[in-house]
Each structure stands twice: as C-alpha cells, then as structure tokens.
C-alpha cells in the first residue's frame, strides 16, 4: 500500500482520529450545512466573529478521512482571521486542490497534496471550505 502512504499520511490520519474544533457553536454568526451529493457525506461549519475576526470556529457532520481531516485543518487555519483573510485562505486552498497553487511547506495542509491524484476525492477535501465560503456569503447579505 505504498501509494496509500502518500494519500493517508500520518498528518491526515491524526486530524481524522483527533479532529480539532469538532462540535457545535450556539449563536454562531455562520452555520452552514453542506452535503456532498456524490457520496452522502455532510458537514456543518460554525463560526462566531468578534468584530471582523473569527473568534471561534467548529465543524460537525460525518464523512471520510479526507473530508474530516480537511475540515479539521480548516478550523485551525481560519481561527483569528478576518473575513477577507478567510476568503483568501479558502480561494487559496481551492486553487491548491486543482493544482493552480503550491501547497505551503511545513504546514498540515501539505498533507492533502496527495488527494490531487484522486479527482473523485477532491470534493471531499473542499467540502468544509465550500461550506464556510457559502456561510460568509450568506452573512454578508444579511
């Protein structure tokens, strides 16, 4: 299972087994539920803002190791960011997942690089990020 080592790295499995910021947030400014219609996986992303900064972010739902690990990494990545910075992070991550941008070295996100080789799994990796972006868009309209 050598190729699998590239996909299921220690970092991914660590986030999968011990997800960061898993749970719910009451009175969140963002609460966005998203379903991956291809596989039935679902994610709910919560975020609370303090002014323009993400004060807290959590995720819930169920899914494969890739979708859960990626959601976990996202929460770490977006904590403390401004809305604009968060939007930039999401665009940047999506660009990485379609090979248009380099993954940052020495960062947990780099562990998701292997997913690019499996086009059917890219949606798993981007699910929570897409939910967060949708949440941002809805929030800005309100």
């Amino acid at each position: 299972m050598s190729m699998m080592r590239e996909l299921y790295t220690q970092v991914i499995m660590d986030h999968y087994q011990r997800p960061r910021n898993r749970g719910e947030l009451e009175n969140a400014d963002i609460e966005e539920h998203l379903l991956n219609p291809l596989c039935g996986d679902e994610v709910t992303v919560y975020a609370a803002f303090d002014g323009d900064r993400v004060a807290d972010v959590k995720f819930g739902g169920r899914g494969c190791s890739i979708s859960q690990a990626s959601a976990s990494m996202m929460t770490e990545r977006l904590m403390g960011k401004s809305r604009e910075e968060a939007e930039k992070e999401i665009s940047g991550f999506k660009a990485m997942m379609v090979g248009e941008k380099e993954f940052p070295e020495m960062d947990d996100l780099a562990a998701l690089k292997g997913v690019i080789q499996y086009p059917s799994r890219i949606k798993c990796a981007t699910l929570a990020w897409t939910a967060f972006r949708q949440g941002l868009q809805i929030e800005s309209r309100e």
Binding site: M1, M3, M4, M13, D14, Y16, C39, G40, R62, C64
Partner: protein, 409 residues
C-alpha cells in the same frame, strides 16, 4: 453449469491490471463488462451496416432495420414478454420509468390517488413519481422494510388499497440484495385495481425473468447492467395501456401523420421511440441477451447465489464488519461497512489493490437514512466473478482495517 475460468476469456477487460494487480471487478450492480461477442457486434454494425432505421430503402438501412427489430424480438423473448409490440427501447431504466411517470402518470393520476413504492427504491423509481405527484396532486405511500432488509408484507397489504393507482417496486435491491415478492405485490395491486411497475435494473441481469409470470403491467431494465452497451434499456408495457398513453417525446419516427397544427401517432412500439435511437447499442443488447441465454439464466443465478453466499459467509467472519440485507434469498451483492473506516476510504484502499467496489449512498438516500448510515461499501458480483476474487476482497479488507487501525494509538 458453465466453466467460469473459460468464459472469463470472453471479457477482454478482465485481463487488465490496475496498480500492477489483476483487475478484480466487483462493481457489476453499477455497470457490467462486455463480452467480445457484444463488442464485435458493435464493431460489425459500425463497419458494415451503419444507417438510420425505418427510413431508407437502401441496403444499409434495410440491414440496420432488420438487426434492430431482430434485437427487439430477442430481448422480448429473453424477458418473457408476451408481445414485442410492447417492448420499447429507451436509454435505460431511469428513462423507462420517467416515460411511464410522464405518459401514464400525468394523464391518469388525480388528487387523492396513491402511488405505492418501497422505502428501498433507487432514486430512479422515486424522483419521477415525486415529480408526477407534485403535478397531479397524487400521494406517494411507502411500504416499509423490516430490519432484516425484507419488505414488510403486512404493511404492504394494508397500504395497497382502493386509492392505489400504481404499485412501483424495485425487483431486486441494489443495496440490500433483497428480492422483493413482486408477483404477490402485482396480485395485491390487481385486486385493488392498480397497475404494477417492476424496476428490473438489478433483476433482469441476474435472475431468470418471465414478465408473464410476474403479472406486471410495466417492466424496466438497463442494457449496460446485463453485458450490453451503455445508452440502451428497455420498457415493456402492456400494449393496451401503451396505446391509451400519450407519447413521451415528440419528433420523427413516432408519428403517423403530421400537419401544421396537429399530428397522429405511429403504431407501437414506434410511438415511444422518437428521433434516432441508440441503434448500435440496441443491436448490441441483442447480442448480450444471446450470450446470457447461451449460459442460461438459471446457471447464472446459481453461480451468483453461491458466490454471494460465499462472500456473505467470509465477510461475516471479519470482526465488527456490518452486513446489510437478508442473510438468504438474496442476489449476488453484499453491502457492508467497517467501523472506523469510511466506505470512501475503504474503496480507495481496495482500488490500490486493483479491486473495484462501490461506496456511497448507491442512489438510495432514503434507504441509507432508514439504515442509519451515510454510506456503505458494496461488492456486486456477476457471472464471471470467482471465489478467488472474493478471497482477494476479504484479504484486502483485513489489510485496510489494519492500515487504519495502525493510526489509532
């Protein structure tokens, strides 16, 4: 009984390797592989006979028409249809059911009428009825499934009543492997004055089907799940019903006389075959049913029954593995899940070993909810699969669990 090792040579794709391992193809409920005989029929058609059917008077058009109509006869005979006039070529099961929902449902359903389905329908036998119900005001009722994956017949008898206009049921479940008692349901429907549609997507390829014996009014199945090409399927309907129905699609071939303000319809089955059909594919389906006939559907059923039971037995010995569906009287497919390993991850790890299985909701989201899971993994067998392939699956599953388990400290 046929020799599995020998017939495997008929399927060129089975010689393929994936990730340096021999392909173990266990996703037959999604689509089956094509024997050389079907591929050759398609090639011959394109190299020698390609023409539009029922139109030209030149040689190629005659040959194509004869081959196309000959295929219709063979498919009708294969399914035990009493009459090939009611045998309509479609794009597949989904289109077949949509045809009935449109051409029969929208014309005949009224507010207060009921269409009775099961909780385990594929989306293709659910969504078309949701659309028809929304337009007509008819109501959908669902026969529940019991915890062992079989249909709750007591509830079925209660639900099928005077308001029922149609009972539409999946013959063999693509998730649970359950074979539903469609003959009995057709009888209950008949007594209530309702019609019966059988979704045969998973039975046509795997069970000896005799439409006459089923006693149904409509039967739908897909060519690509029964060794045929993609893009062709079948709807059989009772000719007297089809005649009363409005056309599904309008255009060439389905008409008799066209004026600027109105038209009249062609005879059956052409009334429902508008435009240029998937001619090569329909002819290829004829070659596929010939192949199945030659092996014998009883033999194929027996082979898959044994293989399915073998897989069920071996999988049930894997610690903590959950199997779905009844433990007997099932088709040759098994749905399962392993705690701690998501089905997606599981099928990725199987792919690494050259094993093709399916993971996900299998187009049965309501059934997944009933089972309380988001997704399952599924291995589905066909006439060319072997016990060695089941062994390969089981061994790979054990390794996958060890791989994931290694991360749990």
């Amino acid at each position: 009984m046929y020799d599995v090792e020998e017939i495997r040579h008929d399927f060129p794709i089975l010689e393929r390797e994936v990730n340096g391992k021999p392909l173990v193809y266990l996703d037959n409920a999604a689509t089956s592989q094509n024997p050389r005989q079907v591929i050759q029929t398609l090639t011959d058609y394109y190299e020698r006979h390609n023409a539009n059917v029922h139109r030209g008077v030149h040689r190629l058009a005659e040959e194509a028409t004869v081959a196309y109509e000959d295929s219709r006869e063979r498919v009708a005979r294969f399914l035990g249809a009493p009459d090939s006039r009611g045998l309509i070529f479609t794009r597949g099961t989904t289109e077949s059911i949509n045809l009935v929902a449109h051409a029969w449902g929208r014309k005949n359903l009224r507010e207060g009428d009921e269409v009775v389905l099961t909780e385990a329908e594929h989306h293709s036998n659910l969504v078309p009825w949701q659309l028809a119900a929304r337009e007509t005001g008819a109501r959908l009722r669902f026969m529940p499934i019991l915890d062992d994956g079989t249909l709750d017949m007591e509830e079925a008898e209660r639900l099928i009543g005077p308001r029922t206009k149609l009972v539409s049921v999946i013959h063999a479940s693509n998730v649970l492997g359950t074979i539903n008692p469609v003959e009995r349901l057709a009888e209950l429907g008949r007594r209530a004055g309702a019609l019966m549609l059988v979704d045969g997507a998973q039975s046509g390829p795997h069970l000896p089907v005799d439409i006459k014996a089923l006693g149904c009014d409509f039967f739908a199945c897909s060519g690509h799940k029964m060794l045929g090409p993609t893009g062709v399927g079948v709807l059989w309907g009772k000719p007297e019903l089809l005649e009363q129905m409005d056309p599904f699609l309008g255009g060439g071939e389905m008409i008799r006389e066209v004026h600027l303000d109105h038209s009249t319809w062609n005879d059956l089955p052409y009334k429902f075959e508008a435009g240029t059909m998937n001619i090569a594919q329909a002819i290829g389906l004829g070659a596929a049913v010939d192949y199945l006939d030659e092996l014998g559907m009883e033999n194929i059923r027996e082979h898959e029954k044994q293989l399915g039971a073998y897989a069920y037995r071996r999988l049930s010995k894997i610690e903590n593995l959950v199997l779905y569906g009844p433990d007997e009287d099932r088709t040759g497919l098994v749905s399962f899940s392993l705690p701690d390993v998501h089905p997606h991850d599981l099928s990725q790890l199987m792919d690494e070993e050259g094993i093709a299985i399916r993971s996900g909701h299998h187009c049965c989201q309501p059934l997944m909810r009933r089972l309380g899971v988001a997704a399952t993994a599924r291995a589905s067998f066909y006439l060319y699969n072997t016990e060695e392939e089941v062994d390969a699956l089981v061994e790979a599953l054990v390794r996958a669990r060890e791989f994931f388990g290694a991360f749990v400290r």
